[in-house]
């Protein structure tokens, strides 16, 4: 389901792949990460095309047995393609810079000189004048206010009318260099006027600062507080009140101009109608073509459908970037695939999307808490579960629900109150403990108190309390320790460090992230930052990350269940529990098919 990006990096190698969905082939090219090879994409495309064309018959006719039995002697072709790709990407030698003789500039001066030579004297004078004026013009543009220097040039040109070729050449060269020197002259000349200015420096008067407050006080001292300050003629009651006809004291509703919008809609619809008609006939043929026979899917066919699916997913509360990535991966998986008869593009895309969603919701190993608790029981150590999450998602409530479930299955629970910040956190857990003990009194369980609270009040270090709680549980023989932590925002660096320290030091068996189902795009940010914090502050080789997700407040969303997808996509960890209410029995496990059905429902 993560087929959107086509490259994968592991240690020193990078892998790029391409899928052929028609014949179900995967082409993978691996190369060292440090080499930035530009021809890889082209190479993989070429290999794909050639391989497919060469062995097309074998795939189509012989099927699986052909794949198993056939020999695919592609080595020579591959070497040839590789050589071609390498050559095409070789860097060309850097271009040699043109010498001054070759450049147009030097040629220009010679040319100009040749022109003046070959003309009549009258024209010569005119030309010279023109040249002079031209020069003056350019100089005026380039350096305003350098009229003195500009004047020099035409006068000089005007004086020398008969010159030898070489002299003229030399003169032009001098002018040419002078022009370049002019920039230097400019800079040398500019300090002079500045130096003059400095001698006669006047104090600068700023408008706003340094002057007396009195100067700034424009208020009329006599008018403050007096009633006659504002001249009467300036106030016009008509314009001030606006609508004269309104009832005094009544608050009117916001007026809603729907007429304009209706007009706009009509205008928009009319041009679209003829296009629909025109497209109707062609569309019908396309539909027929799609119904009968084998049509392979192209990107253009899938794009409108995928756009609609993406919007549909986002409307169902899936995070926007995840919806985009999902649609990308579905497109990659279906591109070039041959559709069967009587299947439309929409149905194929929907089917593929549904499969991808189910796959996302059933990631790696299922977390079976009871099984693992039994294992820990055998080793005579308590099973430690830590709950973390942002503020107000339902950590304490769901902790109570989970402890109720564990007690029902015969395990004794120690609740560690590591929320030492929020007012009433410890009392809340104490109330839950009392209630649970009332529901499951020790007499029913062989004289053993099933739930106990370990707390050290407020303001203490959470990691220390957790460690003490675990050793207390080991001594007293409790089966499970549930650690409740304070809610914290993912951006709050010191609190995230504290949480990471708690988890790194105590090494719990299960780290559960509690997230509410109402969250939208925030889910991505929360999970990424939590995981990052846990990874950054852990000393071990393999850091303890979030192992599972508890999705709470599921009863508040009816079918906008997209948060489940966002969370499992980001972490690849399963949703262990789903909270559907505030009583002890409102604890469920996730049913992937039901959630996907609710998501895809229109």
């Amino acid at each position: 389901e993560r087929g959107g990006s086509n490259s994968f990096t592991h240690e020193a190698l990078t892998l790029k792949y391409k899928l052929d969905n028609q014949f179900e082939l995967v082409f993978v090219v691996g190369f060292q990460k440090i080499l930035t090879l530009t021809y890889v994409d082209k190479l993989i495309d070429d290999v794909h095309k050639e391989f497919r064309d060469k062995y097309r018959n074998e795939f189509q006719q012989k099927g699986t047995l052909g794949l198993l039995n056939g020999t695919f002697d592609f080595k020579d072709d591959f070497m040839r393609l590789l050589r071609d790709a390498e050559e095409s990407s070789k860097v060309r030698a850097p271009t040699v810079m043109k010498t001054f003789e070759q450049s147009l500039k030097s040629q220009k001066t010679v040319k100009c000189m040749i022109e003046t030579r070959g003309e009549k004297p009258k024209e010569k004078v005119k030309n010279k004048k023109n040249k002079g004026s031209k020069k003056e013009g350019t100089e005026a543009v380039a350096a305003p206010g350098k009229a003195s220097a500009g004047d020099k040039q035409p006068s000089a040109a005007g004086e020398k009318e008969e010159l030898t070729k070489d002299e003229i050449l030399q003169k032009n060269r001098e002018e040419f260099f002078k022009r370049h020197m002019k920039a230097g002259e400019k800079s040398s000349k500019s300090p002079k006027p500045e130096a003059q200015k400095e001698k006669g420096k006047k104090p600068r008067v700023w408008d706003l600062g340094n002057s007396n407050a009195k100067v700034l006080d424009y208020s009329n001292s006599a008018t403050n507080g007096s009633a006659e300050a504002c001249p009467v003629e300036e106030f016009d009651p008509d314009t001030a009140l606006g609508d004269r006809n309104r009832e005094p004291g009544r608050l009117y509703d916001l007026e809603y101009e729907s007429d304009d919008e209706a007009e706009e809609e009509k205008v928009v619809q009319n041009p679209s109608k003829p296009s629909v008609k025109k497209g109707g006939l062609g569309g019908m043929f396309g539909m027929l073509k799609g119904l009968v026979g084998s049509k392979s899917l192209t990107r253009e066919d899938m794009d409108p459908v995928l756009e609609k699916m993406k919007d549909h997913l986002i409307a169902k509360n899936v995070a926007a970037e995840i919806a985009v990535q999902l649609c990308e991966s579905v497109a990659k998986k279906l591109e070039g695939k041959v559709m069967g008869t009587f299947t439309t593009v929409t149905s194929t895309v929907k089917q593929a999307l549904q499969e991808a969603l189910v796959q996302i919701l059933q990631p790696q190993r299922r977390v079976d808490v009871l099984r693992d608790v039994m294992d820990a029981q055998r080793h005579r150590r308590p099973y430690v579960v830590t709950f973390c999450g942002v503020n107000g998602v339902g950590k304490s409530t769901n902790l109570a629900k989970i402890s109720f479930w564990l007690i029902e299955n015969g395990f004794s629970v120690l609740i560690a109150a590591c929320d030492t910040f929020r007012a009433g956190a410890v009392e809340q857990l104490r109330t839950h403990t009392r209630r649970l003990n009332a529901l499951h009194p020790p007499e029913n369980h062989g004289g053993r108190t099933m739930v106990q609270l370990y707390e050290k009040g407020y303001g203490k270090d959470a990691a220390g309390i957790a460690m003490e709680a675990i050793s207390y549980a080991r001594n007293q023989g409790f089966d499970v320790v549930l650690v409740d932590t304070a809610g914290r925002m993912q951006d709050n660096a010191p609190l995230m460090t504290a949480l990471a320290k708690l988890i790194a030091v105590n090494a719990p068996d299960l780290v559960l992230f509690v997230g509410e189902a109402l969250v939208g795009n925030e889910a991505v940010d929360q999970l990424v930052k939590f995981n990052k914090a846990l990874a950054d502050h852990s000393m071990a080789q393999t850091p303890r990350l979030i192992d599972g997700i508890v999705l709470t407040k599921f009863d508040t969303i009816d079918d906008k269940v997209g948060a489940a997808i966002s969370m499992t996509y980001i972490t690849s960890k399963p949703i262990v529990f789903v909270g559907t209410g505030q009583t002890y029995c409102d604890l469920r496990s996730l049913n992937a098919k039901a959630v996907v059905a609710a998501l895809m429902k229109a």
Binding site: L67, Q364, D368, R371, L587, L590
Partner: protein
């Protein structure tokens, strides 16, 4: 009213039968033949078991794809982790015309249930391939997958024959089939308690909760299952290495029985 309406039609029919008009009669005859043919065809199709598939299931790296290749071609191939299913027709023995469709499904956790869903209805028999060398380490995962296969409602209804093939017997550290059977029984015993005690699924009203495996009071035993379960040892690679034959006579015999 209606009887009166039908009367003229019946009269017309009687008239036709008395004085047969060849065109109408031939049309009626043709319709009758078509109806009979359809009935026969449906009957025959229903009789011939529409489930002709033998599924190869198991964890990742159990050896399913290599077993598949060996059964079909007899040659050794270097395989990769499968990401999609492969199916081919397998002739059981040279003379018998019976054949089954072998389907090799991927074992990866994120794919296995999806593919099982797709093919379980067509399954006549299931070969569950177990890696005998890594079994000690993986016993919980093996049992979990096996549990999911066994409690599936479609498979419980059809009860296809189940063969647990303990693969990789060519390695010296491989566990025997008997040991694997005992361990699986113990693990499944625990699992059925924990799984049924898990919080009910979100949509549980529809499914009615997970099925109970085996008998309640007694310890779990493979004989308590509705389907026939057998254990067999095999080696897809073969004791003689890549060039030699694979060692799976037990598997081949069982396949011949099933087909």
């Amino acid at each position: 009213g209606m009887a009166a309406g039908l009367e003229p039609h019946l009269e017309a029919l009687r008239q036709e039968l008395r004085a047969p008009d060849p065109a109408v009669l031939s049309v009626l005859l043709a319709l009758l033949v078509v109806a009979i043919t359809l009935l026969i065809w449906r009957f025959v199709r229903g009789r011939r078991s529409s489930r002709k598939a033998v599924l190869l299931l198991g964890l990742c790296d159990a050896g399913k794809t290599l077993l598949f290749a060996r059964l079909l071609t007899g040659k050794y191939r270097n395989t990769q982790t499968s990401i999609t299913d492969s199916s081919a027709v397998y002739r059981v023995s040279k003379d018998k015309s019976a054949n089954v469709t072998l389907i090799d499904l991927p074992g990866h956790e994120s794919l296995r249930l999806q593919f099982l869903e797709r093919f379980k209805a067509a399954a006549r028999a299931i070969v569950f391939v177990v890696d005998s060398v890594a079994f000690q380490r993986e016993v919980k995962d093996v049992a979990e997958f096996l549990y999911q296969v066994l409690v599936d409602s479609t498979l419980l209804k059809n009860a296809p024959a189940l063969l647990i093939a303990c693969n990789k017997q060519d390695v010296t550290m491989a566990k025997s089939a008997k040991l694997i059977q005992q361990q699986l029984e113990k693990e499944l015993n625990t699992l059925r308690v924990t799984r049924s005690a898990a919080p009910t699924s979100l949509d549980s009203s529809a499914t009615g909760g997970p099925a109970q495996l085996g008998r309640k009071g007694k310890d779990f035993d493979f004989s308590q299952l509705p389907m026939k379960v057998e254990f067999v040892e095999c080696s897809a690679r073969g004791s003689k290495g890549e060039e030699g034959e694979a060692d799976f006579e037990g598997l081949e015999k069982w396949l011949a029985k099933v087909a």
